[in-house]
Symmetry: C2
Subunit: 409 residues, 2 copies
């Protein structure tokens, strides 16, 4: 290993984010490089859930008037600074799939002359394409894929709406949000950004990039807990556009008037649908409280330094084992390292898991390692890389290569 441990410990001593690690509940003996799939548990989440259980028990129905009902807006406002959005521009609700559907319907419903095409991204996380297909099939639109790696410019003719990820979930490649947004708008189309792998992974600047619409999840880098609700962003000047198709009572202009006819709320709350889980929102809120204290530039600096450290520790080794590092350059990636070994990738990840180093594997051959600056130290990264080296050099991955495959994002 080429990297000196003393130097690594020095990085930890100088790390302004090191104070956050003690605010997480982390299992002993685990080096967790899968916070890009499910974030670790903030200590405060546990207390927050316990308090909400007390509230359900003691306050019963009154709990809805004690912070439960307006949690989607309140948490949206807590989240907004992390996304470069303003007050009233973000709401926490439902899941990414549903939120993309709402935005597609909302955007296309406003276009006087629809062109008929919804464009989503080949190689993106599939649910974005699945719901774009469901929406298109159902609404009489045409769905097309932007082929992976193809230039967007050549595929914008006739397009109403584009759905793109800011960070690709497989490679970690980071798009230039400002440039792509300008490009799409210049074609008279709209773009919905999926921030699943960028929110909490790096500073997102929705307002600064001129982005009008976005969605994302909170259970990865934002530590909201397994299946925590998603978010939806609409830039303020685009909030008076009428209905979204999933018109439920929580999105009504006056939900407690119980009027017969739907009338959408005049603000971001129109994107709510029905009753949400008080327990789940409180767990997320505890994490978002912590995120108020995070310096996002420091987060980015540490994220890139950690992923670079991991690569440096392995750089002398990968080629001789037939492993390709497809991680984009520092300015062009999110917060993950992506290594490809179509022959042994699965077995290597399994062998690492057996050692308590949790990464994940995607066919074909992709090993993903996520770097979460709030609860990983540089020494953790150094140790994880050391395990990787030992797994290769001892050949122990050969023992695990016949394990059954199966994983969850």
């Amino acid at each position: 290993m080429r990297v000196n441990l003393d130097r690594v410990r020095e990085l930890d001593l100088q790390d302004p984010l090191a104070i956050f690690k003690e605010r997480f509940a982390l299992p002993e003996g685990v080096l967790y490089l899968d916070g890009n799939s499910l974030g670790a548990q903030p200590l405060a989440a546990r207390d927050a859930v316990a308090e909400t259980l007390d509230q359900w028990r003691d306050e019963l129905i009154k709990g809805w008037n004690q912070g439960w009902f307006d949690a989607p807006e309140r948490l949206g406002n807590r989240l907004a600074p992390v996304l470069g959005a303003g007050e009233g521009e973000v709401i926490v609700t439902d899941n990414i799939t549903l939120n993309i559907f709402k935005l597609l319907g909302y955007i296309i419903g406003q276009r006087d002359e629809g062109r008929g095409v919804v464009l989503s991204e080949g190689g993106n996380f599939p649910t974005d394409g699945y719901i774009a297909q469901g929406f298109s099939r159902f609404g009489g639109h045409e769905h097309r894929f932007l082929p992976e790696g193809a230039p967007l410019e050549a595929h914008l003719d006739g397009v109403d709406v584009v759905v793109l990820s800011q960070v690709n979930y497989r490679t970690g490649a980071l798009r230039d949000m400002a440039a792509v947004t300008r490009q799409v708008h210049a074609h008279g189309a709209e773009i919905i950004w999926d921030l699943a792998h960028s929110a909490g992974a790096l500073p997102v600047d929705l307002n600064g990039c001129g982005a009008r619409y976005a969605v994302g999840c909170t259970y990865k880098y934002l530590n909201g807990g397994p299946g925590a609700p998603a978010f939806l962003y609409v830039q303020r000047d685009h909030q008076d556009g009428g209905w979204q198709p999933l018109s439920g009572w929580h999105g009504h202009a006056a939900p407690f008037d119980f009027e017969a006819n739907y009338a959408p709320a005049g603000d971001i709350t129109r994107f709510r649908t029905g009753t949400h889980s008080a327990l789940t929102y409180r767990a997320l809120e505890a994490s978002l409280d912590m995120w108020q204290d995070v310096d996002l530039q420091a987060l980015r600096t540490k994220s890139l330094a950690m992923s670079e450290l991991f690569r440096d520790c392995l750089a002398d080794l990968l080629e001789s084992y037939g492993i390709t590092d497809i991680t984009p350059a520092a300015g062009e990636r999110g917060s993950q390292v992506s290594l490809v070994d179509t022959e042994n990738g699965f077995a290597i990840v399994q062998a690492l898991i057996a050692r308590g180093v949790i990464g994940d594997y995607r066919e074909p051959g992709l090993m993903r390692f996520g770097f979460t600056p709030l609860y990983l130290s540089f020494e953790d990264v150094w140790q994880a890389a050391g395990h990787f080296r030992e797994v290769l050099e001892t050949g122990e991955y050969r023992e695990s290569r016949f394990n059954v495959r199966g994983a969850v994002t």
Copy 2:
């Protein structure tokens, strides 16, 4: 008060469901007649949530392979017997609003010659109408209301799908599910039953009534917790109908193959969308475990006896205070008593709440009192009626009538 306390205590001694009360966490000094809005907390839910928090902390991403991912199907199967449904016919997912949208799209997508009309119910809980309107507006259908109290027969021409509640949320009126289902099918239309106020309130017999489609929630009589997920039922012979419009990756035939194109699962799982909350599902599962032990006929018997006891205790009193009892007859109601006083109804409910008797109020003038046989005793009901009497006779409701109005279902 005409009813003798000794006789009431005798009813409790003979009650086969009395054993369930100790399985709930109930606050001291509260008589809770609002389980039709938010059910009380099963003791087991607390432990289940704590275990799931441990699992998130210790197992992290592996939790998804340890019971989290398949919770929608597993809980659906736990719930099925309570609804008169079979294995594989029920799934727990999303909320009622979204589930109605899915079923509307699924049903209409199968009809070779759509007639163009979606009929929902005036006076039903408004979200059913709101989403029927959103669906219709978006899909180019016509939405109509069945006027409250109007005969369905006269409104079925041209209708593709009807959305009706089995139990009306305001009056508590119970529809004859078998007869109405036959009537709708005889017109070549389909019906989606909303079971929000019947699931867990009385024995529902979806299969026996020939019902093909239903939705409902689990946070009322089923005690799943605030904002617990909803359910969706499709009769087995109607599960091969293709896409539902909210096509997300959890509803894919092979969600972990990450294929580019959507292909719906061949079974009830096609109605899943995206990632759900592990915490919330475990809380509900703890309650559904308890429901496996409940004799639903005994539940119905006790429910009707309790609501009748409440009415008996007040029967001599209501007319002289200008209060109208609109509760349907025993065989024609769910598990609630509905009293109307347009002048003082709100004030009476507020005065009752001040005494720890929790009912709820809906404009105009409607006082609703829900009877949950698992955690209410006959003596609780007798005491609640006693408070009602005292609130009227002392006139203390006049003190509270200027309170600000506002409540949550």
